[in-house]
Chain length 403, copies 2
């Protein structure tokens, strides 16, 4: 019997380890592989021979791994380039040495491209006996075909808590104040848009809608004259009509030309203050905390990610199951209960799913009911956590020395 290898890539999420835990668990239930190896720091570490054995994780360890945030196997931004055949040769040598039949790669866009490239390389070079399987994850929710990406639900839940918390806080004083919450999401506005579920967002700026400064300032002034407050959520990827990032405005204003002082939030704040739209504005940028917060996972998201790992493991019994990504489908007209299915990784790699225009209300006023209905089930439920002295127990990263 052969072995399998699992690795993680790209930015961490709250549930990326749940998928790894699902693969390990599934192999306990049906040991189709002698060993479940973990590759450290993605392709980069695998190429350097940095491998751990996950086969014998106990039930307790799997439970802790399932609730552990960030990438317990480490990550990398290293991308296999199709023209760099040396990397490919080296990787297949390592897989052969470890007797690896199946490699699972947990990641986003780029990782799906790696899965597609590896299976394509094997096919083109007549190499048989290897399967490459992608398991999606990204808080950006920007992968095509899949209904939503594992990791998005927990990030959305956390950002709604952040929005509600900071809104409750900035309201306690009667003074005039604009609050600006910046979110991740790259060129897709999913995570920013998700914050409308908190019910506190006055104005929402998404990358999908060109940022019209004059009109926007008018709307901020209206809110301030009505209630002395304005709560704004802006996506890091927000752009002006000419395509430049709102975040870039800050860099332009910096006479030294060597420093972008902040993201879209800080840029917007400075514009508001400079043009006298408000007297006081506060920016909150959650940075990396929003993608892998320990204490605010969505149970729905955790369980889906875990099951997605199990599904990938089970499907990999089929020798023809290569170049595939396991995905989730929602059945229209039925209560939320997504179905797992497989898709060619090449159909997902290098595409970006943006927020549909028809779900976006005009004038930065938020999102339609259809969007609310889409996101609501994804943030439901809280996992029952194993606690460690008041903090959710976390698996020590595998890439660190034990002892």
């Amino acid at each position: 019997m052969g072995n399998c290898l699992v690795a993680q890539s790209g930015g961490p999420t709250s549930v990326i380890n749940a998928t790894v835990a699902g693969i390990v668990e599934s192999n306990r239930l049906n040991p189709i592989y002698d060993h479940v190896y973990g590759g450290l720091n993605g392709i980069e570490g695998i190429l350097a021979g940095r491998i751990v054995d996950l086969t014998r994780l106990t039930d307790y360890q799997i439970r802790v791994l399932k609730q552990t945030c960030a990438s317990a196997l480490g990550s990398c931004r290293y991308k296999l380039k199709r023209e760099n055949t040396e990397d490919f040769r080296k990787l297949f040598l390592i897989l052969d040495k470890l007797n690896v039949d199946t490699m699972f790669y947990v990641g986003g866009n780029d990782s799906m491209d790696t899965v597609a490239a590896l299976s394509q390389y094997a096919e083109e070079n007549g190499i048989t006996g290897h399967r490459f399987v992608g398991c999606p994850k990204t808080v950006d929710n920007d992968l095509v075909i899949i209904d939503h990406t594992p990791g998005f639900g927990s990030a959305a839940k956390f950002m709604n808590v952040v929005a509600k918390t900071t809104w409750l806080d900035y309201n306690v004083y009667t003074r005039q104040e604009v609050f600006i919450l910046e979110t991740m999401g790259r060129d897709a506005g999913w995570l920013a848009a998700s914050t409308v579920l908190s019910g506190v967002v006055d104005l929402l700026v998404l990358p999908e809608v060109p940022f019209d400064k004059e009109r926007f300032f008018e709307l901020v002034r209206e809110k301030l004259s009505a209630k002395n407050k304005c709560y704004i959520v802006i996506s890091e990827g927000a752009r002006f009509a000419d395509g430049t990032y709102v975040a870039a405005a800050e860099a332009k204003n910096d006479g030294f030309g060597h420093a972008i002082l902040g993201g879209a939030g800080v840029a917007l704040k400075n514009m508001l203050l400079e043009e006298g739209v408000c007297e006081r504005a506060k920016v909150q940028d959650m940075s990396t905390l929003q993608r892998c917060n320990i204490s605010c996972q969505s149970r729905t998201d955790v369980e889906e990610s875990f099951k997605l790992g199990m599904s990938a493991h089970m499907r990999s019994m089929d020798p023809a199951f290569t170049g595939k990504m396991v995905a989730l489908k929602r059945i229209e007209g039925r209560p939320y209960d997504p179905v797992f299915f497989a898709v060619n990784a090449s159909q997902v790699a290098n595409y970006v799913k943006r927020v549909p225009k028809e779900w976006i209300l005009p004038d930065y006023q938020g999102m339609t009911k259809e969007f609310h209905d889409y996101v609501q089930p994804l943030i439901l439920g809280e996992p029952e956590l194993i606690m460690d002295n008041g903090i959710p127990a976390q698996m020590p990263p595998f890439y660190m020395k034990r002892g």
Copy 2:
């Protein structure tokens, strides 16, 4: 029978409403007051006659109020000045009009001074029949006499989660990186120091220890050469030996002299980069989120705050109970189980409790076992929450129009 009035002041916490909920609940169990009124936006709103009636809150509403973050009654920074007798006269007129026997004021240092000033004014002017009772709260934990302040435990729990999360995240890539987490705390290092419980802090900068830049940079360099990473926690109130704030370094470097670009964290980052100590540094400033996070309360903290409100209400039956603050005492040598007691508010007002020097390890290396033992029980437990579509249910602020 007379009435009572409760108001909140100063910065919000995660559990400041639990104290209000405790007062309302205690009056349901033993209705010593006909009405429990809430004063909106502290003294400022009371002087403007902005009052709500909390007497008939249902059991369910009390449970939701107990888990609601920030100040549901609103807050103010308005301070009653002893020389401004006009304010005093006006306030007593309002209390008489509402037939208020007892006023509870939930707040920090300044609020305890208000409690002391009001009871002193009554005594000096021969006004009888009013009691003024302080209920402490502050995430800064900087009040004297009391073992710890309500609000601190939840903030400490959350900041430990933040530290652990961001540490797990910044470690997934192998690149060199310094991470800087800035915390609140004013001139006391309690909240910053509490993060050592996460087990991830390499270097800790507190206001209690002068910041020696040269020595500190040496230590950062050592960490980086040992493991390519250095996780730093710095308190917003950190100072150089000459007394200037580390945060002020940033303002000094700004040639325009009109903007402080950030707090202590950003200032430290810029120093590290400018002096070439590291190639890459990231700063996380949680801002207001750390004082009233919705999804990361400490059960210990919530319950203590609730019971403190009940204790204050019960004690206020005694007509002589005025100018007092209800406090918590830990019994040495016994398992953690604090005792409630009363202290004169004047003994607390205008003093600051800083972190004892003997609990601070040299060379920014963290805290002693005594400090760990002091903080550990305060962050234990998670309240059972009433959820509302995936987010902990929150009482709509009383200071907003209902509709």
